[in-house]
């Protein structure tokens, strides 16, 4: 009887340890979307247009935000600046769109060949304002609205907004129900760094 008890305990421990693998995998949550950037995510470069030179420090901080999350393995490396737009996966622009337009926005493009030139975001019916890419894409443009963006004086918030747009460039949609995610829709999000849920979604997109 004692022998049987010991073996039962051992068996329970083995079953429990096997549960660690799926538990670890479950920490990588399902992605917000199924489509992504076709550039090699391990060698990403961004370009800053002459309209946005003043934001280079903020953009660099936001890029580092994604590379050095402190949340474990992240395939995104490096995420550095290039001065050659043909080598960049993300292009930054800035303009004055007025105080009542958007803060920043991201568009995604793929190559023309007499067929679809750009990708569209599809609606996710149960999650308003989320949007996910409808197909893979080659590069993204991020447009900053100087009028609203310059009104934010907190550097952490500013780089958090850019980090949010980088998330769209990777293929992540919005997270309207979670203000503790960098992908929360609005500038009033509670966090300015990549959170576990964001990292998990990124890693699910780029396993």
């Amino acid at each position: 009887m004692k022998k049987l008890r010991y073996w039962l305990i051992g068996l329970l421990l083995i079953i429990g340890s096997l549960g660690v693998i799926p538990a670890a995998s479950a920490a990588t949550m399902p992605a917000y979307g199924n489509y992504k950037l076709t550039w090699n995510i391990e060698s990403i470069y961004y370009y800053i247009d002459q309209s946005a030179p003043g934001y280079s420090g903020t953009i660099a901080a936001a890029a580092n935000n994604w590379v050095y999350t402190g949340l474990g393995y992240n395939k995104l490396y490096p995420n550095t600046r290039t001065y050659n737009k043909t080598n960049s996966a993300v292009d930054f622009y800035a303009a004055f769109y007025g105080n009542y337009a958007f803060t920043a926005m991201t568009e995604t493009y793929k190559r023309v060949n007499g067929n679809a030139v750009s990708v569209g975001w599809v609606e996710v019916p149960n999650r308003t304002g989320t949007g996910v890419p409808a197909e893979n894409y080659l590069f993204a443009e991020i447009h900053i609205n100087n009028d609203i963006f310059d009104g934010y004086t907190d550097f952490n918030q500013r780089q958090g907004i850019i980090a949010h747009e980088f998330g769209h460039a990777w293929g992540l949609g919005h997270n309207p129900e979670n203000p503790n995610s960098i992908m929360y829709n609005w500038d009033s999000r509670n966090v300015y760094t990549i959170q576990q849920v964001d990292q998990d979604a990124f890693n699910a997109l780029y396993p």
Binding site: S17, G98, F102, Y109, T128, G131, N136, L138, D187
Partner: protein, 229 residues
């Protein structure tokens, strides 16, 4: 070493092996992608051929706003109206910017007018997005952009005839058509020619004249708002 200790050591060893296997599996999956670019020549034909034979491409952008709460938009606006959509007048794009569309709305009622505007039958509004020709887009970007999207492979005729629709992020079923009634949150500063629709789609909510309710993007239904009473 007694039996319990042996079992304990055995189970611990198994646990360590299981964890190592898990780590190896996760790392292997992470390293699957290789190469600089994943087959950029692959295309999914998501274009649409219009009645005139031109090809329509679509770009949908994802926007960030300070807020999209209707109560906040009401406070920000210096004109709030209920109006019926008439038509899109024109879409333009400036160098290195996103396109914008001028639209005409027929005003049904004025909810707020702190700007003291003289409002006639129709007003002209401005919002991000709209449809332009591929050539217009290329003119607003540089040669590197054209090279990246492969536009240099197209003929002049193809570039002129192809259209690009910049669609703003849709919230619920808000595709606009002629006679659609909308609750518009607008702002116009001195010297500006058009009323800006604040926060794009969030600032032009679908409105139900019978129930006196406007579309609630968060709840994905129609809601009453205090400023509509």
């Amino acid at each position: 070493m007694n039996r319990i200790q042996k079992i304990g050591i055995g189970c611990t060893a198994l646990l360590v092996v299981a964890l190592l296997v898990g780590v190896i599996i996760i790392n292997y999956q992470s390293k699957k992608l290789e190469g600089d670019k994943i087959n950029t020549q692959e295309f999914i034909d998501g274009s649409e051929t219009l009645d005139d034979g031109s090809i329509m491409y679509e770009v949908t952008a994802s926007y960030s706003y300070p807020t999209s709460n209707p109560e906040d938009l009401f406070e920000m606006a210096n004109l709030v109206v209920i109006a019926n959509f008439v038509e899109d007048v024109e879409t333009e794009i400036n160098e290195n910017e996103v396109p914008f569309t001028i639209s005409k709305f027929n005003v049904q009622s004025i909810i707020k007018n702190t700007g003291n505007f003289a409002i006639g039958e129709d007003i002209l509004t401005k919002r991000s997005g709209g449809t332009i020709s591929l050539q217009q887009l290329l003119n607003a970007r540089d040669d590197d952009f054209a090279e990246k999207i492969g536009a240099n492979d197209l003929t002049t005729a193809q570039k002129s005839s192809a259209k690009v629709r910049f669609k703003s992020e849709s919230i619920g079923d808000q595709s606009i058509e002629e006679e659609d009634t909308r609750l518009l949150f607008l702002h116009k500063a001195e010297g500006e020619e058009y009323f800006t629709i604040i926060a794009n789609d969030y600032g032009m909510l679908s409105y139900n004249n019978t129930t006196k309710k406007a579309f609630n993007a968060k709840e994905n239904n129609y809601s009453s708002y205090s400023f509509l009473e």
